[in-house]
């Protein structure tokens, strides 16, 4: 991966001047909002799961699938209606981390590239944001599985 070039003294001085005058990211507020909104989305998921178990006769182990599906539909709808990005500006990681963020990244890319056609546009670009989540998600799962096998192999914990 390319490394960032070393800054000259004048550039370093400028970076300090600029930094002092730039508005800062409101990190504490962002973290709190992410916690609250992310928590609310998970609570909504929990309510949906409860409904699927108690009113639609799903087993607890099976109720996760329709719950995820409903959250994905809601997220895709809000993306299509142009609302999701406005919520995300306030919620930050709170809307990015749960399954809704994943759905938003795919739906938004699909909408965006519709003008280049279904194959070279929608199909090729749908995963341009979500792709790295899939790649590194699958890879980390693989590493964790190997570790689990190794631990079990030596007699487990």
């Amino acid at each position: 991966m390319p490394k960032r070039k070393k800054l000259t003294t004048a550039q370093q001085d400028y970076a300090n001047t600029a930094k002092a005058l730039e508005p800062k990211r409101p990190v504490v507020k962002n973290v709190l909002m992410a916690f609250v909104v992310g928590g609310l989305i998970c609570t909504l998921g929990q309510i949906l799961q409860f409904i699927f178990i108690n009113y639609f006769g799903f087993e607890e182990s099976q109720a996760g699938n329709p719950t995820a599906a409903v959250l994905i539909i809601i997220s895709a709808l809000l993306t299509g209606l142009g609302i999701y990005d406005h919520i995300a500006q306030r919620a930050g990681a709170g809307t990015a981390v749960p399954i809704t963020g994943f759905a938003n990244s795919i739906a938004s890319a699909a909408i965006e590239h519709r003008s280049e056609g279904y194959v070279l546009g929608v199909g090729a670009n749908m995963f341009k944001v979500a792709g790295s989540v899939i790649v590194f998600g699958v890879f980390s799962a693989f590493v964790v599985a190997i570790i689990k096998i190794l631990i079990n192999g030596v007699g487990g914990l």
């Binding site: 600029a18 990005d85 809307t95």
Partner: protein, 334 residues
């Protein structure tokens, strides 16, 4: 005529024959709404892609400018245009439909004054009768190319800027009663090591200050010469930094003289974070708002310093810093 290190003084004083500024609905809600010739409520402008919508903005701005001057495409000697899209498609495709001999430019958001400076040079040398110079940008088309999909929920920092959906066009000629262009300073590329594409104001501010300082030196004037000095699209962050840099270099410009197009176009709207950016920003504000104020006699002499960040979506992923440029053009009432 060459003045100093890198400036041209136009002895023939090319005249602004007509101008046009068009914008989208978001620009139409801003404080400068009345200065636009047309506000389009539909960001698609009836087209089936954002790229085509941007082209339509540019085409319409050019047609409005020609209509106001009572000129036809065949009367215009050259068309100079630039935009932010890859391979400057908005400009070249507009040139295709206008059928005017064309020179495409890329100076990112500085293209507005780059085009005007070159147009004046062409006229000053007797190389043209009328020259049309224009630039455009489209919020969604730029977001799509430079950042994430429009509807993707990425949180932007407070230093981010909002790309203007709009276009500005100007026709200059040899005769007329409008304001004249007296000189220009061509900027050099300045890179002070900023690499965050969500902090363009801080990246571009040194380039703007550099060009302003050289402009004053080349023409042997100071800030008092002008009633108004405006940078293109530094936004609030870049504007604050530029003022600090000028103070450090001993350039004094009064607060009521120095302003920034990126701050003016949307006013204090938290949705746009630090302010506006895009080729359409300085073009629409200059060719709409500022020239209207000049016509009313509120401004007699002004210097527009259009600033451009010369990055590509790939260059910042490869951790390159952002090279920036600024070109200044001096407008005066004849």
């Amino acid at each position: 005529m060459l003045r100093g290190r890198q400036s041209w003084q136009f002895d023939t004083k090319p005249v602004i024959v007509s101008t046009a500024a068009v914008g989208g609905s978001f620009e139409g809600k801003g404080p400068l709404a009345a200065d636009f010739d047309v506000i389009y409520d539909d960001i698609w402008l009836g087209q089936d892609s954002f790229e085509k919508a941007e082209q339509k903005l540019l085409e319409n701005a050019c047609h409005i400018a020609m209509d106001k001057a009572g000129l036809k495409p065949e009367d215009i000697t050259f068309f100079l245009s630039g935009d932010l899209m890859n391979q400057i498609i908005s400009s070249s495709f507009t040139a295709r439909s206008l059928g005017i001999p064309y020179l495409g430019l890329f100076g990112a958001c500085s293209s507005s004054m780059e085009g005007l400076a070159l147009a004046c040079k062409l006229l000053d040398n007797g190389g043209a009768n009328y020259v049309l110079a224009a630039t455009s940008s489209h919020n969604a088309a730029s977001e799509k190319q430079y950042r994430y999909p429009t509807e993707y929920g990425a949180q932007k920092p407070p230093t981010a800027q909002w790309t203007v959906t709009g276009a500005g066009a100007v026709i200059i000629g040899r005769e007329g009663t409008g304001p004249v262009i007296t000189g220009t300073t061509i900027g050099k590329v300045v890179d002070m090591g900023i690499s965050d594409p969500f902090n363009m104001g801080a990246a571009m501010a040194p380039a703007a200050v550099d060009t302003i300082e050289i402009h004053f030196n080349d023409f042997g004037i100071d800030a008092d010469y002008y009633d108004l000095i405006a940078t293109g699209d530094l936004g609030l962050t870049g504007y604050t930094i530029a003022k600090e840099l000028m103070k450090k270099r001993g350039i004094s410009i009064a607060d009521n003289v120095y302003t920034d197009c990126g701050i003016l176009i949307y006013g204090q709207n938290p949705l746009v974070f630090s302010g506006a950016s895009g080729c359409g920003c300085s073009a629409a504000v200059t060719y709409g708002h500022f020239l209207n104020r000049m016509k009313k006699g509120e401004i007699k002499k002004m210097l527009i310093v259009a600033t451009g960040a010369l990055l590509s979506p790939m260059s910042y992923q490869q951790k390159e810093t952002i090279p920036c440029i600024a070109h200044a053009v001096s407008f005066e009432i004849s």
